[in-house]
């Protein structure tokens, strides 16, 4: 897809283009604040098995017992008592867009989800506030045994599979926000790909927050059985409000022997959303796990997708792009834990900060004893577009095996004046030239995205560059 220059310029005038608000469709009057009663209520509304209810209540204790993280971004302004932990927007999940209330349907149309579904997706899950309001998987995939459903339905329809894997990679007490998610989770995706099945078109989930002070806590579990392949894509957005919302997801992925999973995120929350997410994958023998993690929006993001390389020959890759504009702190990164021989990992991070924004790369590469012949490369590049902005790099390298070969490199710089001068001498404005340079800078990430998302990301960059220089 090629975008003309006029289209570019038109985009630049729009600002955050996901800023619309639907009237409330809450099925019952939502309540603010968190307590065991709220957790019990969520569990009971979902008619959950008792083990899950107990798991939630225990997790709430962990959440309350754990201190706030003292490192990373400033989280002191989160008012947990002012958050809505559960809002149900429709009585029943739709399998047809026309069955949704008109406003909600309109939101998905504006986000272009039904159109994308027709063109290039194998399945779509659309979460609005706390629950998935629309869900559909292509018949061909259903026929060959691919399970793709929302997490609430999965707990009902595949209780044994869920019970076997839920919380095994990210235990309730892993960190404060994983504990919170475990206590109040709702929605999210469940995917199971049978052995040898290649899902060659992406499955997509989109997460939309509509209400002010919303707390969205989706829970995703993906199991790619031996030799299978799946690409899961998620997007998210919210209207702009003057007070804060909280998004705290947990994502667990298992790539079994020889499987390959690619998980792509284009996170574009409005700048009043705290985005505090725990994502972790296990890659078994010869499996490949890839995180493509685009963080463009939110007030604060703390997210470090990790890969545990548990089987010999497993490979992991994290591609991370982070943007922070005015008032934003994007603390992203990636982790690779080498726990088996001959495992490899590659982490590539690109960040851009502007208008006082702060980006951070925080990462860990760890080689366990006896994980011999591990190989890892980490590359972090940061662009800082003005003297108000900031970039941090905190890479941890821990090696307990002498045959490991690890490398880390990072650079921080500004947009090259000679590059700008050259492009401007060719008739581009400074804004256009900067956008072009930034797009070139993040190209190693965008070229890994499905084309529609790459175009979207490039547009976002151009949008964000508005007024950045000169």
């Amino acid at each position: 897809m090629v975008i003309s220059q006029e289209e570019h310029l038109k985009e630049l005038d729009k600002g955050y283009r996901f800023d619309w608000k639907d009237p409330s469709h809450a099925v019952f009057e939502p309540k603010r604040g968190l307590s065991p009663a709220v957790v019990e209520e969520i569990s009971s509304l979902k008619s959950e098995p008792d083990w899950m209810r107990k798991r939630r209540l225990k997790a709430l204790e962990h959440f309350e017992a754990r201190p706030m993280p003292w490192w990373g971004a400033d989280l002191s302004e989160i008012d947990f008592e002012n958050i809505f932990y559960f809002i149900r927007s429709t009585e029943k999940q739709a399998g047809n867009w026309d069955d949704l209330p008109e406003d909600i349907r309109g939101t998905w149309d504006k986000l272009g989800i039904p159109e994308a579904e027709k063109k290039y997706l194998g399945g779509v899950s659309a979460q609005y506030e706390s629950e998935v309001v629309y869900h559909k998987i292509k018949k061909e995939l259903d026929d060959i045994g691919v399970l793709f459903t929302d997490m609430d339905s999965a707990l009902r329809d595949y209780p044994d599979l869920v019970k076997e894997h839920f919380g095994t990679l990210i235990p309730s007490n892993d960190n404060k926000f994983a504990a919170l998610n475990t206590a109040v989770w709702s929605g999210g995706s469940f995917i199971y790909v049978p052995p040898g099945v290649q899902v060659d078109i992406p499955l997509q989930a989109y997460f939309r927050i509509n209400a002010e002070n919303m707390g969205q806590f989706e829970r995703t579990l993906i199991i790619a059985d031996e030799g299978s392949y799946v690409h899961y894509v998620e997007g998210c957005s919210a209207p702009i409000y003057s007070s804060d919302s909280l998004h705290s997801a947990v994502v667990e992925i298992k790539a079994m022997k020889g499987a390959r999973v690619r998980y792509t995120t284009i996170q574009n929350w409005s700048t009043n959303v705290y985005n505090l997410v725990t994502k972790r994958a296990a890659a078994y023998e010869d499996a490949v796990m890839e995180w493509v993690d685009g963080n463009i929006g939110s007030k604060v993001t703390m997210k470090y997708p990790s890969i545990y390389l548990l089987g010999e020959g497993a490979r992991g890759e994290v591609l991370s792009v982070a943007y922070a504009g005015k008032g934003m702190h994007t603390d992203a990164g990636g982790k690779a834990i080498h726990a088996a021989p001959h495992t490899t990992s590659v982490i590539t991070s690109k960040s851009v900060s502007k208008d006082g924004g702060r980006t951070g790369y925080r990462g860990l590469v760890r080689v366990e004893p006896d994980a011999h012949h591990a190989r890892s490369t980490v590359r972090c590049d940061a662009l800082i577009l003005d003297d108000e902005s900031r970039s941090d790099t905190y890479p941890y390298i821990e090696v307990e095996d002498e045959t490991a070969a690890l490398g880390h490199e990072a650079t921080v710089s500004k947009v090259g004046e000679d590059q700008l001068f050259y492009l401007m001498s060719r008739g581009l404005s400074e804004v256009e030239a900067t956008a072009m340079i930034v797009n070139g800078f993040i190209e190693p990430i965008t070229r890994e995205l499905p084309m529609e998302y790459a175009v979207e990301l490039n547009r976002l960059v151009e949008l964000q560059m508005e007024g950045s220089v000169g």
């Binding site: 003297d387 790099t393 890479p395 490991a404 490199e409 921080v412």
Partner: protein, 421 residues
């Protein structure tokens, strides 16, 4: 004996302003906790069970100390245990106004200079160990070079510890006034001891346009715990080049910090370390760019053998307004044995945009092909390993400008490798 009020009162009288420092630091020492691994700064070194039972003050006499490795020193100072026992001067330094003497003597004779600078760069309340140092230090080195005076040959302090169970508090206060030039070596030596504590501080003031080369050669014996803080402040257009060589001690934690406080400063920080047996090294560096138009470059290389463990963590800070900063930070680790362990954490915190900053870190095995090649040429495995490590370190040593310092470091490395491999 231990670090209590009685031990403090038994120390020789603290001259000049150091008396007040001693009292203040002792109060801080009593109030501060042992560093905890729960803090980021001490994450990789566990001192929570560290036993502070050492002899606080052991007078020395100078016998048994090794000869200097470096020939042609402009002057040298010998501290044996808690006492400075000898200062020799090969040239007529006094005529040029250079002051080189026992820090306590300087506190008495030059109260203004010492009063202004002692513990200004490394405050006593930084940690429990800097407080302990402030309270119990005796001896140490004072070096002052007046404006525009260039001292061609290096000066050296040898701190020699041979009392089992004793603590020593090496302190170097080096002030190079505007336009001065000087090279200084801090060398730490001991035999293998049951236990020993080296709680060391180096404060280095590099005046406007001054050039300072500073080398520390740490060759403590087994049993010694070495906890060192080195901090340099660079004035306008100052030039500071440091070299840290670390081989000794059972546990060595060395922090090296450079503050580029005024525009135009240049800082080079080099390090080589070799760890074997069960040695634990924790090297930390800070390149703090507080002013515009400064350059800093850091290269640390370490080789590890046996069950040793080495951590390198470094920070590059670029403060708001420190435009045109050029900062580079590189850590390379070579792991020679299966059970050695290396960690590297090179951090960047950048708050200005017109900068060039980068870092690189690597941890890797020794090239088996290289060893195989050397062995195929008839060189025994041990010798081949020594050659490979020497070659690995050479990149750092080649950057040491002054031949005497370079040769001294090379000799120290050869002695260490001959012992270890």
């Amino acid at each position: 004996m231990t670090f209590d009020r009685a031990a403090l009162d038994a120390l020789p009288i603290a001259p000049g302003s150091t008396g007040a420092i001693r009292e203040r630091a002792f109060a801080q020492f009593e109030a501060l906790p042992l560093p905890s691994q729960e803090t980021e700064e001490w994450r990789y070194t566990d001192l929570s069970e560290f036993d502070l039972d050492f002899a606080a003050h052991v007078p020395g006499h100078g016998e048994g100390a090794p000869e200097p490795r470096v020939q042609g020193l402009a002057a040298s100072l010998l501290q044996h245990n808690s006492s400075v026992v000898m200062t020799t001067s090969g040239q007529d330094l006094e005529a040029t106004g250079v002051i080189f003497c026992d820090l306590d003597l300087a506190a008495e004779k030059y109260p203004d200079l010492v009063g202004k600078h002692l513990h200004a760069l490394v405050p006593t309340d930084r940690t429990l160990f800097t407080a302990l140092h402030g309270a119990f230090r005796t001896g140490g080195t004072f070096l002052y070079v007046p404006p525009d005076v260039a001292v061609e040959m290096p000066l050296q302090t040898l701190t020699y510890l041979d009392a089992d169970g004793a603590a020593v508090f090496p302190h170097t206060l080096l002030i190079a006034d505007r336009g001065a030039e000087v090279t200084f070596i801090d060398r730490y030596v001991s035999p293998d001891l049951g236990r020993g504590l080296s709680d060391a501080i180096a404060e280095i003031v590099v005046g406007d346009g001054a050039h300072v080369q500073y080398a520390s050669i740490q060759e403590w014996g087994t049993g010694v715990t070495h906890l060192a803080v080195q901090r340099a402040r660079l004035g306008r257009d100052a030039d500071f080049r440091s070299l840290a060589v670390g081989f000794g001690a059972s546990l060595a934690r060395a922090e090296a910090e450079t503050v580029l406080a005024e525009p135009g400063g240049f800082s080079e920080m080099l390090g080589v370390f070799f760890a074997d047996e069960t040695q634990h090294f924790d090297h930390r560096s800070v390149q703090d760019h507080a002013a515009a138009n400064c350059t800093s470059d850091l290269l640390y290389k370490g080789a590890l053998r046996d069950h040793s463990r080495a951590v390198y963590s470094g920070w590059v800070h670029v403060r708001p307004g420190a435009q045109k900063t050029n900062a580079m930070q590189t850590s390379r680790n070579m792991v020679l044995s299966e059970s050695a362990k290396a960690d590297a954490i090179p951090n960047l915190e950048i708050e200005a945009n017109d900068v060039r900053c980068g870092h690189a870190a690597s941890v890797g095995p020794v090239e088996e092909e290289t060893l195989f090649y050397l062995q195929s040429r008839g060189i025994p495995r041990d010798e081949a390993e020594r050659l490979v490590v020497t070659g690995f370190f050479q990149e750092v040593l080649d950057r040491v400008a002054l031949e005497e310092v370079r040769t001294g470091a090379e000799l120290a490395i050869q002695e260490e490798l001959a012992k270890a491999i």
